[in-house]
Amino acid sequence: MKYSSQSVALPYFIAAIGLFVGQIIFGLAMGLQYVVGDFLFPEIPFNVARMVHTNLLIVWLLFGFMGATYFLIPEEAETELYSPKLALLMFWIFLIAGAATILGYLLVPYSTLAEMTGNNILATMGREFLEQPLLTKIGIVIVALAFLFNITMTMLKGRKTVISIVLLMGLWGLAIFFLFSFYNPGNLVKDKFYWWWVVHLWVEGVWELIMAAILAFVLIKVTGVDREVIEKWLYVIITLALVTGLIGTGHHYFWIGTPSYWQWLGSIFSALEPIPFFAMTVFAFNMVNRRRREHPNKAAVLWALGTGVMAFLGAGVWGFLHTLAPVNYYTHGSQITAAHGHMAFYGAYVLVVLTIISYAMPLLRGRAANSERSQVCEMWAFWLMTISMVFITLFLTAAGILQVWLQRVSDTPMPFMAVQDQIALFYWMRLWAGVVFAAGLVTYLASFFVKGDSKPLIHA
């Protein structure tokens, strides 16, 4: 660790991992609820478990992004963080607000929570992924603004690199597009139209910039490839991401009441959306294959390569699978969407956060890399989680294809719940794959406590 203020990243990473564990526990509970409908009912009904599962995902990834930023910006800017105290204060505010929100979901009926938190003043709740109470949303904006102030001030006083500028663009975009979560028009079509400006423009827009910047930073560190080479790739990737992803929003506008030209725009531009992910795969492999010496942190290299491949498969291939309007006419909102969502989030964002954690954690703990035994444990975790996520995706895809056929294509279409019974076998298989994923996560946690001879830091 070159700058002492980088240590601010440590609590962010620990919180991210803790919330990741929570997300997986609720994922398993939901996986069981799919096949044993009244499991945990009425204490934790399915809709609440789902809300906690998805909200925890978003919050832990945001913790991961912020931790990554606090770690890499001082190094890129070659200066200490503008205000480490502000960063720590925001950490606690965000953690407490996040935990209070999750407890609110679990302990209070959602409608009561809405009444308690001022939803009657400005109604923003009740929409998928944006279920947070008004107070939490305002808290997120305050934390984001303080965070961006801190990072921007750090950059202004230090060196400006392509990586830090791309990262900052992504983070500002993240904050700006979140403001649309406060806009909740009465017209349902308009509501959905702008709702996607948060959801889609985050994950298929500005988050890709954040992901590419973090990946580029780690690749520079673990491969030693010249910064100029990596920066040129970064320019290409973010251009492709923005050109395809912005108008690609149109693939969410099929048959929701928007003009029909969105079917063309959405189909064409989102068919191109796999290209930046494809470029990222080539980028990761290319940089790793160029290196002349083995970086002692082999686990971080594995996570980085995994990010490239799994993001391409999940976001690129599985996204393309159902993005064309004539295909989406049948597959809209089926388990195929769930399959894509699982692998895309894991491949693109979970893995990139775990990549930076894998690279940064040993440094934050005063060593160049963890011991061989610890790294082997971490790599086992990678393979367990990644392979099980591939199977989760395949089982959900199979469930989705069968669902589409029985519910929408067949001459004698079956009702939704009757179809759910027919595809229960795949839900059971998904559940078991989820159990293996959880085992991978436990292995990952264990890797932090495995002892052995770690590689010492060499100070220049």
Binding site: V317, I401, L402
Partner: protein, 135 residues
């Protein structure tokens, strides 16, 4: 490092252009221009298969053979699933789509690895479907 060897840490595209083009056409055949990109690859292979440097010849041969075998397995097995199972059977669709997507993605990942080797000026043999390399 000798004067002829490119510096992999500093050069953007150190490998031979023809090898990179061959791998790019292999990927284009899978992703954006099926058939057309393969024809272009065949033309490239016919023109340079005897005269190009060893690394380029390897990439040309690997991509042509992998395209033929890979394409045959991709289309052949998918068609067989539908013909044997019938278009009216939902299980044909489950198996057919899962097979097609998984095998297609595998070929793309192979192509990415091939493209990387070409960019770095190294030969690479496609697993299972690639012929032996020229030595």
């Amino acid at each position: 490092m000798s004067a002829q060897e490119p510096d992999l840490l500093k050069e953007q595209m150190p490998g031979p252009r023809l090898a990179i083009l061959a791998e790019a056409l292999f990927l284009a055949n899978l992703l954006i221009a099926p058939g057309l990109a393969f024809l272009a690859l065949l033309v490239l292979w016919r023109r340079h298969r005897d005269s190009a440097p060893l690394v380029v010849r390897n990439h040309l041969q690997q991509t042509v053979i992998a395209s033929i075998y890979g394409g045959a397995m991709l289309v052949g097995v998918s068609v067989a699933i539908f013909l044997l199972g019938g278009f009216d059977d939902p299980w044909s669709w489950v198996l057919g789509i899962l097979y097609f997507v998984s095998f297609h993605a595998t070929l793309v990942i192979f192509g990415v690895v091939g493209l990387n080797h070409a960019i770095l000026g190294r030969s690479w043999q496609y697993p299972f479907i690639g012929p032996d390399l020229y030595e």
